[in-house]
């Protein structure tokens, strides 16, 4: 009996020791000649020792509600139990979430490599004994670049908006070519973006660089980077002696540019619907066709983003307008509310978001005064350069919106809900005056009944056409 106990005990000891070794497994990480054994917990490893190895600080912030990693100018934030990482103000989805651990927080190798080390300019490379932390993010990681240009009297501002933070510098090569070189990423151009500029002819990608092709005698005057969203901004203008100006009577090369009308929704996306079954998809198409007729009768070229029930991506709609260099872009929609009493038409134009905050302090004080609350100080926000570059287009959009809404107000039975600003997806990226018209509320039974009639649809189309025509004639 006692003899039988011996192998059992030996087996127990062996199992326990093996189990302990499995649970306490460590992984070797090396960086700059130094190494550290980091506890491995299942498929995850402790995060803080890895970050400490490269000199990055990581601690839990009670103010932010996240772990905050700081390294040089970089700041990363993440929370155990969530798959989101804020990298220098940009939000990134990750494949899995870090978890609480004895050392604070543990994460998968992929999370550490892609979500934590890459934004700091490092990458993991496997070695026989574990991993080596190498300097430089993965060069093959793409960064999507959306170029947009705004021409001013003497200069052009070219804004390259990046889908994630990436280090880049702008330079002029010996042959005079302007390039934007990325340190750790391969730029890919957003296929939906279109440039409309007299000074910037094209932006193309080549390996880790973007090549900026400009009109003759246009060069790089200045450049800088901005965050939130990450952008590289180039100021372009004349860099050579100004040639003799053309005589005033020289012909100006112009061509007819269309008004692009976008019937909202389409395909399976029917949008809002009335109790009687009238859908936003069908109503906007009906009004758009009538609007096209009204505009053509006034001598304007017209292009519809869709002329049937099929759907189209929101970004494609703006891209069409940019590609044909539209005079104006008008997206038609019909509204819905939880309150069936809400009715009326309204017209929106793009909010560059920061612009909506200009009145933040006043709004706060005003509201709190009305409601009896206490006021608190708010700091003013800086106006970002992108806003300035788009200011002229935005002002024209406001004028167009006002012209259209004024005509809609004149229609009987239409309650004026006014002109408003909001960041609508379909208006984003439009390089011409662009508005979104909500012709009425399908959730209001009486209004839905009117919207279904050809007479009211024609009246709406006529009013919108008058507004567009008035705007174009005064340009």
């Amino acid at each position: 009996m006692r003899r039988a106990l011996i192998p059992v005990l030996v087996l127990l000891i062996g199992t326990s020791v093996l189990s302990g070794q499995e649970m306490m497994q460590t992984v070797e990480f090396q960086y700059a000649g130094r190494g550290v054994s980091v506890p491995r917990i299942g498929s995850r490893i402790e995060v803080i020792p890895v970050l400490a190895l490269i000199g990055a600080g990581a601690e839990y912030s009670r103010a932010a509600g996240t772990y905050v990693v700081t390294y040089g100018e970089h700041t990363l934030q993440f929370t155990p139990g969530h798959r989101l990482v804020l990298a220098d103000g940009d939000l990134h989805d990750t494949t899995d979430a870090p978890v609480p651990s004895p050392g604070g927080v543990a994460a998968s190798f992929e999370f550490i490599d892609r979500a934590l080390l890459a934004p700091l300019g490092f990458r993991l490379e496997p070695i026989p004994q574990g991993y080596r932390i190498a300097v430089g993010a993965r060069f093959d990681d793409p960064v999507i670049v959306r170029p947009a240009a705004a021409d001013f009297d003497a200069t052009t501002t070219l804004v390259l908006t990046l889908d994630r933070a990436a280090e880049a510098i702008a330079r002029v090569d010996d042959n005079g070519e302007i390039t934007v070189v990325f340190a750790d990423a391969s730029p890919r151009l957003d296929p939906s973006s279109r440039l409309r500029s007299n000074r910037v002819r094209a932006v193309s990608s080549n390996g880790q660089a973007l090549l900026i092709t400009t009109a003759p005698n246009v060069g790089l005057l200045d450049w800088h980077s901005l965050d939130s969203p990450p952008r590289v901004i180039l100021e372009l203008g004349r860099v050579f002696p100004t040639p003799t100006p053309a005589p005033e009577y020289a012909p100006v090369a112009t061509g007819p540019s269309p008004v692009v009308i976008d019937p909202g929704h389409g395909g399976k996306d029917t949008g809002a619907a009335s109790d009687s079954g009238l859908t936003e998809r069908d109503l906007t198409l009906a009004v758009a066709r009538r609007l096209a007729g009204e505009l053509r009768a006034r001598g304007h070229q017209v292009r519809l983003t869709r002329d049937d029930g099929e759907g189209r991506a929101l970004t494609d709609r703006t891209a069409i307008a940019n590609r044909v260099e539209a005079e104006v872009f008008v997206s038609l929609h019909a509204n819905a509310s939880n309150f069936s009493s809400v009715r009326g038409s309204e017209t929106y134009y793009m909010s560059l978001d920061d612009q909506a905050t200009d009145e933040a302090a006043a709004a706060l004080a005003e509201l709190e005064n009305e409601a009896g609350g206490e006021s608190e100080e708010r700091s003013d926000l800086d106006l970002i350069l992108w806003d300035l570059a788009q200011a002229s287009v935005l002002n024209e959009s406001a004028e167009l919106a006002l012209e259209v809404q004024t005509r809609l107000n004149a229609l009987s039975n239409i309650r004026d809900r006014g002109v408003k600003q909001a960041p609508f997806v379909v208006l984003t990226g439009a390089t011409m005056p662009a508005i979104l018209v909500e012709v009425g509320f399908l959730s209001n039974p009486a209004e839905a009944e009117r919207l279904a009639t050809p007479e009211h649809q024609q009246a709406l189309a006529g009013a919108i056409a008058q507004g567009i025509d008035a705007f174009l004639r005064q340009r």
Binding site: R2, I6, L9, L12, I13, S16, M23, M24, I41, R44, R62, A63, G65, T66, T75, Q77, T79, G81, H82, L84, L91, A97, P100, P102, H265, T270, G271, A273, L314, H333, N335, A336, S337, N338, F339, S341, D353, A356, T357, E359, A360, A363, L364, E366, L367, E368, A371, G373, E376, R378, R417, K420, Q421, A422, F424, V425, T428, L436, E438, F441
Partner: protein, 185 residues
Amino acid sequence: MTRRVFLIIAAAAVVLAVLLWLFFGPGRPSVSPTGAPVDVLPTPTPAPEQKVMLLFAGPDGLLHPELRNVPLPIEVHERVRAIVAEVLIGPVGELQPVVPWEAELNAVFVDGQGAAFIDITPPPEPIDGSRIELLLAYGLVDSILLNCPSLTSVQILFGGHEVPTLTGHLDLSRPLKLNKAFIAS
């Protein structure tokens, strides 16, 4: 015989010691299976009740303020959590909720640039109408920004993901700033 007894006792002692070390030792690693960080992260600093202004949908299709006394922690992200929780609870009066489904707040992030990121339950089925989307977005965003002066913008996430838009109108892929256009004057 004596030697065998001694070996057995010694082996048993070793097993016992190993087991004790494994189960009660200081370095025993353990991981919460679902990563619930609540009980291991610092608890928010208690704070007295303060009057907050919450925005809900009115019969005119605009946002209307409702005042409510709420305990507001000092930490910004806890403050945001408290405000959003009240908005999700809904109005006590005649107004209607701005989030037209039973949503829960999953997470709150606050970055170093004054942007808050709130993650709420996604809608169980598609919703339509730009007005509904606008009131949902700005009901949450404006309620947070009016009560958290250190913040400048709010991005709404659904089910842990960024979404480009909810009903095909408003751009929700980036933080929104205070916009009083939808607040009844």
